[in-house]
Symmetry: C2
């Protein structure tokens, strides 16, 4: 039935994440997925709808991965290690389900869509909030200041890793947060 739909979403996510959205045409996705154009437009009303579906897919995959990475932390420090060593694995291409690292898909996509009111921008914002909530629920000892620090450094690490190609960021974050947590 609609395993075609799923194949379109998977392909779209891969291609959009790798090459951006505006620079890729629908035809390229059709070719890569081996699906007919008519089929695409029976499942999605527009390219934007496909983008949104790809974002949703990425959101779910990312949160699922993060959830297993963070599970089982007994101390705040352990959670910090789980998170940032996980990011390091992602950056260096060792997390197959996240694909070759090319920054944060949601940041990249926000950058391409200027109107902050669009569904796409709003979805990107919501994703970041879900990530924050997930980290919060795994924090053994609640600490809002620490949570802020973790989230800000996480964003810093991801963008520094991508734009500056500096993969040492996660280790630095761990050291900083370790010092902070002792306060």
């Amino acid at each position: 039935m609609s395993d075609k739909r799923q194949r379109l979403i998977d392909t779209a996510l891969n291609v959009f994440y790798e090459k951006g959205i505006h620079s890729i045409g629908i035809n390229e996705i059709l070719k890569a997925s081996g699906v007919a154009k008519k089929t695409l437009y029976t499942h999605f009303e527009s390219k934007a709808a496909l983008v949104l579906a790809a974002l949703k897919q990425r959101d779910e995959t990312f949160l699922a991965w993060l959830n297993t990475r963070l599970a089982g932390a007994n101390t705040n420090y352990q959670l910090i290690e789980n998170l940032f060593l996980g990011l390091e694995l992602w950056f260096t291409g060792k997390v197959p389900e996240l694909g070759d690292f090319r920054g944060c898909f949601f940041v990249n996509t926000s950058a391409e869509f200027s109107t902050q009111e669009s569904d796409i921008s709003i979805y990107c914002q919501a994703h970041k909030q879900r990530v924050r909530s997930l980290i919060e629920t795994h924090l053994p000892i609640p600490n809002n200041t620490l949570l802020d620090a973790i989230c800000l450094l996480k964003e810093g690490a991801i963008n520094t890793a991508y734009v500056e190609r500096d993969f040492s960021a996660p280790r630095k974050c761990i050291e900083l947060l370790q010092a902070m947590d002792k306060l």
Copy 2:
């Protein structure tokens, strides 16, 4: 002479920063700048060359602004305040020369150009390194760990402010760094 060239660069920077690059056509820049297409192509060999010129312009404007913001700090804490309160002004649209805030132009542009070897991606990387160097030279008491923390949090603040529309990030960064600096 080539005040037309400058006008093209100014317009391109404004439009690209506001709306992204792949989603804007050359004709839109021509219309907004009131310059003929032939003139554009006598000064720039391609759209990519114009993008590079816009990046260079932004690089210079941003570094000049940052330089005056950071000047005169006598303590590391003062430098941190100068930097992050400056970011807050930027985010909230109170720095005319940086335009209405729409994230970091270099991060946004990197997101649109997938090949990491392109001139454009390399320029974005170099910009971030220049910003880091500038902060380093203004740090009254050298401290590499602190410098790392400042740069990571700065990136985190910029991206959080844009994607999550949360302008409270700079104040949080100041508090975190203030605590850290006491270690």
